[in-house]
Amino acid sequence: MKLTGAQILCETLERLGVRHIFGYPGGAILPVYDAIGKSKLHHVLVRHEQGATHMADGYARASGGIGVAMATSGPGATNMVTGIATAMLDSSPVVCITGQVGSKLLGSDAFQEVDITGITMPITKHNVVVSKVEDIARTVREAFIIANSGRPGPVLVDITKDAQQATSEFDWESCGPKLPTKRVRNNHNQEEFDRAVELLNSAKRPILLAGRGIILSGAMRTFEQVVRTSNIPVAMTLLGIGCFPATDPMNLGMMGMHGEAWVNTAIQEADLLIAVGMRFDDRVTGDLRTYARNARKIHIEVDRAEINKNVKVDAAIIGDAGETLANLLPHIHERDHSAWLAHIKELKGDSAVRDIQSLPDSGHLYAAHVINDLWKVTKGGAIVVSDVGQHQMWEAQYYHHDKPRTLLTSGGLGTMGFALPAAIGAKFACPDAEVWVVVGDGGFQMTMCELATIVQEKIKINIAIINNGYLGMVRQWQEFFYDKRYVATPLIAPDFAALANAFGIRSERVTTRKEVVPMIESARNSDQAVLLDFRVEQEDSVYPMVPAGASLHEMIRRPNNPLVETATEP
């Protein structure tokens, strides 16, 4: 059967199970769009190509499958760069397909020509230019394998316009993937494995550090068995949230820069850290010279390049988190760590009392209240897509995720503007799920054009803007470290309610605490997208905080007379 390259691409994507493509058309990808029109593929028209990549990323994070984004050459492709880097840093399987000028024009600075494979080389797991129609199907099939194998990541396929237009015989069987034959390393090192087992069974103050690798590996059940057997408490990275129930007594919570004080203190006091599917990011460790100096370290990680990168470990087991934990499980002894657990509980002390969440209604609206109420009303069952900044940390602290893939957030790259488009992608992945965007007034303004995509696609998501009139996290740093010189952080925003209405989206402004629950309920009950503009305290800060580069135990604690003394007054 003779097909054009564009038709072959669509046919291949369909056969690979793709149902949705997030993209934006243009000259160099037009043949593909013509073929999409005749295919079963559903194309979601975004408003900016960055949104397309975030949507594909959100789709991948929510589903565990591969998200597909599409753009034309030149500016279409360069607009994808931020989204690709976001997916790269968080190991998200995204396949980006870009149009390219005709192969005869390559290198001639033709209209909308850009060397996108050159540009994206360091931020993709792999990328490739296809200039022959015969190579399209095979290359796309290879891209799908690469994107979702080992440590997942984004792959970009750049297809010249002439390859899209040319015709070729299409036969699925004969266009199978032909990836280079790589050495298969035997990663099993019995010595390291035995050392890990010995450390695990002899530690007195151990902690499991749980990362996104557990979710990517689908190892939640095995991980839980390890916890139950060993009685070792769990601390999570931001991206690990959901891999183990937040409400489980063995879960201490999030660690790192904005982790709870008892979690970080416990890590500093631990005699063994068992890191699973995480990479000792600087936001997790603080100053490496003082990080967990009393602890031996075991690192279970699929990516060999992560071993001893930031933290030198005593035993490294390279491999898939699920497989490795399953191998370890029979060797793990049942241990009684009640003294250690009791000590951690003691560390918790009165932290909960000082917690802003338990303060009486003072007439002030705090982000923590909003997010905690959101958790209560949704019974922890929503997919929450958070952006980057203060609200992201409050979300991680006050929305308790019991299930994997229910918190989607840009951790590694910290990309503002991620939340809204990623939530759209997540909704396509899980159409029956309740999806909430939790976003700051700054990040929202970066990609709010995608409100139009929501309307055009008639999808139901809920948007909670945590609006404090500042670039809050940067303001907090200025407050703590720059003597309150608020340079370039006060932020004028449009009237978000009016803006949403202009897009055709229902919207409410919320200014008092007593309105929070009814408004959240009303948004949930609506069958259309709803935007809630929460006007929260302007100069609230995220506590505790480990200043950048400081030791993990050097935390700025939640003040005793929380920020606002009025909070304790009637």
């Binding site: 797991k125 199978g176 899980c430």
Partner: protein, 178 residues
Amino acid sequence: MQTIVAYVENKPGVLNRVASLTRRLAINIDSLTVGPTENEEIARMTICAHTDENGARRLEASLEKLVDVLVAENISDRSMLERDLALIKVAADQQNRPHLMELIKVFRGRVVDVAPESLIVEVSGTVDKIDGLLEVLRPFGVLEMARTGRIAMTRGGDLLRPPTATGSKDKDSTPAST
């Protein structure tokens, strides 16, 4: 100095990926040589990098993450041979030419071109040996020099070969249906 040998797919852009990776890891390359192997689809690289053992381990592991890199192995600690080849154009006149040729002989270099006011020496061997010859030639006036950079190979039965294809067994990866 760390020496890493890699087998890579012999196709455009692979050198760029390798170079881009070392730049990203902030590892300075002293020399990088690429040449064909007995299999025309595979090329062999020898990468000499200014880094410590840990840096070399990261480089090696990161190199192997590249789809087009089939094998990357740090052979710095192994018993190995390394060779560099240099062409050196030295100023030489009637008077000092015999003396110069004596010196070149000591270093087992070969004079491959003679002109009235210069000659070209070809010398191969370890970097130290070539550096040694250069030191000796410098007083005569080194006019031009080209060096290949190092190639390296482990000694004896310690083989480092590209993996052999066992037929494509790749399976398509599909998006999860939800």
